[in-house]
Symmetry: C2
Subunit: 223 residues, 2 copies
DNA sequence: TGATTTATGTTGCATTTACAACAAAAAGGA
DNA sequence: TCCTTTTTGTTGTAAATGCAACATAAATCA
């Protein structure tokens, strides 16, 4: 465990899960949480739907994908999760017994697992570590909640222009300026808003002609 | 506090926030969390956007609405929250300093407030109460997260029929049967899926004619 | 630099949707 | 029961969207 911790200490120390925990304490905690790591090759399945959701995963290296089957049996990518992020924590925290999704390695990757049962039950009720960890988890999950709510606010608009403007106005408010750079290219923005890229491009052009905004690639300015 | 606790003891004891906490301990906890209640009249504002998000609200009686202004300044109802539910807990848990929404009494209602700072800092680090409360909060918020993800899975389908079938198939899976009753009427289902009621009714009729499903009001049967 | 790849913008068309207006059916109350 | 209200289904139309195909611009790389 120590060697693994040393190799990935930076990524673990900067993980929000270990906020307010001294770097020296992290390996102790990992030990208490029965942490172990596994390496996966690209396209290898990390977990199959139906398997126990009794862990929290941390991506030490690489990238993974969450896959879900729709009612026709078509498998689609629900989420891509990158290095340094945690995954499957929502299921563990919500008390979901079995994973409702498949998890696959998008590329070669290294995953660390924490035992969620140990985390929740506590090795010792007075253990400060567990308290801090759970508080951190709470913050992470509440943050995701807010993220999902925001996204829903945009995607629930009826028209493409409405979705766009809802998103761009929120960005302006968040960045505190009418000029800002978004973290998407056109295709990414279209995927995020759940619309078609070319239709969205057309709407953007229309808005520019109407004098509502200016844009160049990821740069936007609301007028 | 005790009188208030006595009057609303049932609603508090059955609240998931107080799961695994003995009924007798609840008033002690409320005291430690500086709980207080306030009564509001219909249409009265409970909180305005921008005010501190330093509390967790519990609806002891009545119903409230979360309001948000869009980029045109139109105020719309983001959520309706009913008796026995908690609210604003996501903001407190995510460390959001100020409320990004307005909160209004949908009818006359009684609200109890818990001080989130006390909850997170702990009156005493070894206090079992806080640990349990935070674990419960974690479960509640993780559950909302899953709820939001599911909803997104449905609403991200491109067509009305796709949204419907995604939802109905999930319901069948959840209920463990091809026959089930949904917790919505047509208008409610349309709002939930983010589509137009009449267009959805037309799609349902089409699916019935195609022999994909049978339905009567809230009853559905997948074929 | 020139060639190749990727990202973005434009357009036409078939499909889908929102919206409105109305009809029919069911539920609820006097 | 009859009347009223609510819920659900139907239809037509204008608007919006997805999709495909293509043009142009920008970025990448040998």
């Amino acid at each position: 465990m120590d060697t693994i911790y040393e190799r990935y200490s930076k990524i673990l120390q900067s993980n929000p899960l270990f906020k307010d925990i001294a770097p020296d304490d992290i390996p102790i905690m990992l030990n208490r949480l029965n942490a172990y790591t596994r390496v996966y090759k690209k396209a290898e399945f990390i977990r199959h739907s139906g398997e126990p959701a009794d862990f929290i995963g941390i991506i030490l290296a690489g990238e993974i994908q969450i896959l879900q089957d729709d009612y026709y049996g078509n498998r689609s990518i629900t989420a891509s999760i990158t290095e340094g992020s945690i995954f499957a924590e929502t299921f563990a925290c919500a008390g979901v017994k079995r994973l409702p999704v498949d998890i696959m390695a998008a590329g070669n990757c290294t995953i660390m697992y924490l035992d969620s049962k140990t985390l929740f039950n506590g090795c010792d009720i007075h253990c400060q570590f567990h308290y801090t960890l759970i508080k951190n988890l709470l913050g992470i999950i509440a943050g995701k909640n807010i993220y999902l709510n925001q996204k829903h606010k945009y995607t629930s608009q009826k028209t493409t222009a409405g979705k766009l403007l809802a998103y761009l106005n929120d960005q302006a408010k968040q960045k505190g300026s009418d000029e800002f750079v978004i973290p998407f290219n056109r295709q990414g923005l279209a995927d995020y808003l759940g619309v078609e890229r070319s239709a969205m491009s057309a709407e953007i052009s229309k808005l520019v002609k109407m004098g509502v905004l200016e844009t160049k690639r990821s740069y936007f300015k609301l007028l």
